[in-house]
Amino acid sequence: MTNAPQTSASTNNGPALAVCWSCKGPVAWGALFCDTCKAVQPPVPLDHFARLGLKRDFDIKVPVLDQLYFGFQRQLHPDRFAAAAPKAKQISQSQAVAFNDAYETLKDPLTRAAYLLDLLGEKVEGEGAHTIADEELLMEQLERREALMEADNPAAVEAIARHAKVDAEAALSALASDFASGDKIAAKRGYLRLKYLVKLGEEARARRARLTLAR
């Protein structure tokens, strides 16, 4: 069994069939196009991994993701439907939106981790997210921010940014192995650490830009 979007949604309760909006005949649930009349079909609710035909896994090769995404957009982007009937245009837009959303979420390891944790029942972002009280992480965060605020020349800020970058890379590979070994709690902690390291890097860059301009 492949994990292509067309088949990923079939359930044990019976065949997954939908009605084609255009020819009103049967169409496989989740199919992008009707086999009979070739009309584009609306997106069905799928998680981002399934939509792109990927295994639900943190370890994603970005070039693979890119190729899958381009392949779907080649078929579904509204530019392909510029001369189509209004309803087909509208459906192509909602398909393109769904694939953009999936791609954007999975492309960046940070949003991918948050999304995957959410799927695994460990919500880390938005409403209902539980944070963890991690003294060690909190202290590290406070110290580094303080150091950043005190750094008053571009070179010092640059050093902090570089340090954050190196640590972020290490945190990312640690996170990948936590996901691989199925340790959700460690993955959650790893996610929060990676998130603040990335943010620290961004703040450092912004501060360096300000300091450079001020000279």
């Binding site: 065949p15 009349c37 959303d101």
Partner: protein, 620 residues
Amino acid sequence: MLLQIHEPGETPLPHETEKGLAVGIDLGTTNSVVAFARDQKAEIVRDARGVGLVPSVVAYFEDGDPLVGELARRELLDNPEVVVSSIKRLMGRGPDELAKLGDALPYELGPPAEGGMARLKIGERLLTPVEISADILRGVKQRAEIALGRAVDRAVVTVPAYFDDAARTATRDAARLAGLEVLRLVAEPTAAALAYGLDSQAEGLYAVYDLGGGTFDFSLLRLERGVFQVLATGGDAALGGDDFDHAIAKRFMAERGAKLDRDHVKQALVTARLAKECLTDRDDWDGFLDLGEAESEHKLTRAEFEKLIAPFVERTIQIAAATLEDAGVTPDQLGGVVLVGGSTRVLLVRQHVAEFFGKPALTDIDPDEVVAVGAALQAEALTVGSDTLLLDVLPLSLGLETMGGIVEKVVERNTPIPVSRAQEFTTYQDGQNAMAIHVVQGEREMVDQCRSLARFELDGIPPMVAGAARIRVTFSVDADGLLTVSAKEATTGVESRIEVKPSYGLTEDEMAAMLRASIDNAQDDMERRLLTEARVEARRAVNAVQAALAVDADLLSADELARINETIEMVERAMSSTDRAAVQGAAEELEHRTKIFAERRMDRGIRKALAGRAVADIGG
């Protein structure tokens, strides 16, 4: 080159002959360019002397049609009071913003239009920037129609990547007024990349540095086997070659011991532009500034000129650096930098670009024409079909005003479009039955530092305690970068949906009135478009039924089949008429008379699927 329009032996379907050609239009601040593509080769539409640039200048004399282009530009010195130029800078700007420009705005402001859109007093007329842009587009369209020998009614129109929603909407409205259906609004740098990429089969990361008359755009793209993916975009919608002209004009006026005021700004700018253009291939310029009452002589060396414009050029490099840094890309990773826009002819610009990127920029395609070339290629792709794919992004974040005037971002900039995002809000007072929704665009944290796009109200919220209502606001941005916002109260389903019209945009009534007044008699145009849409829909319905018959005709008795075929013929007949109601009615009738057929097809589908499952169960 002569473009061959009619293929020998070509017999287009009746409903297709009415369609005109689709062109690409670069509606620029200083100049506009129109191009037409066929078989992935684009040609700039030129006048008899081979000139492709149409000055984006309109002259409004008391009687007669507006003059557009070179003819209008020639009136700048003699009749500056009736001539409008650089109108693109004012697209989507509200009256307050224009008033703030003060003397830098070379026009008198009239009372705003009903929808709040700013109007300029030009001679005896009151005109919105949208109407003036429409006149430029009409001129460009006519030029194409003369050269191509056929009606032009659809276009890909380019906009600066950094144009906000208000300016994009204004551009689309202007095209509509000019009798052009906008196939797509495409970002200028993206169009330029398309022109280059298709030409050279380039792959990898490319930057587009686009410095026009009034706008600066910087875009980072990835080119890969026909995919043009915009990764990040940055810019300044009010920075361009016009600023160079202003700096020179100010200097000349200062040398005369005067300030750059509204009475003299147009003439001073004409002289300034001459000096600037001269300094691209010479080391010094001298000439006279004639302001009617007195003539003065001025000199400018290239070194002096470069000193005047250095701050503007420096700012473009800062924007480029920040955009690359945001995307995590360093200049050495780039395969090339494409230069776009007339202002990139200035030597200092080329020097700074080469220095920052560590390589000379690509200029194989004329920087003044490359955007129109890309637009024409995209127009062909959208009408004829193509394997290339443009994936663009939202240039500026979209958000909502929350308590204390703080912006809550709903869609971040550089998100691929089309995109749809929702955010939930709640009431903050017991029994609150309405909620004001204020949509803004920009990167800053406070509402008053962002662009206000629209305000609307969701009312009819049933009385609840504070914090109990769940109001879901959805932002949808289409592939043109245009926004629609809807709001819905989740517990009751009260809904409110608006297409975001800028707070000071044209109202539908104003648009309709302008369409009525326009010489193109766009009312007919509108009806024609609705008819085309009805025919496309009827064609789809017929094709769908025929496809179904090809597979499942055995589900019908001979009589039933005959009746359906009769109905199809009826739809075909209706489609060749110009009666829109008849076309729609026939298509609906077809839908109605094929209901039973559809039901039997579904039954067969379900039976088949069950049988397949049974086999699979046995096999598994």
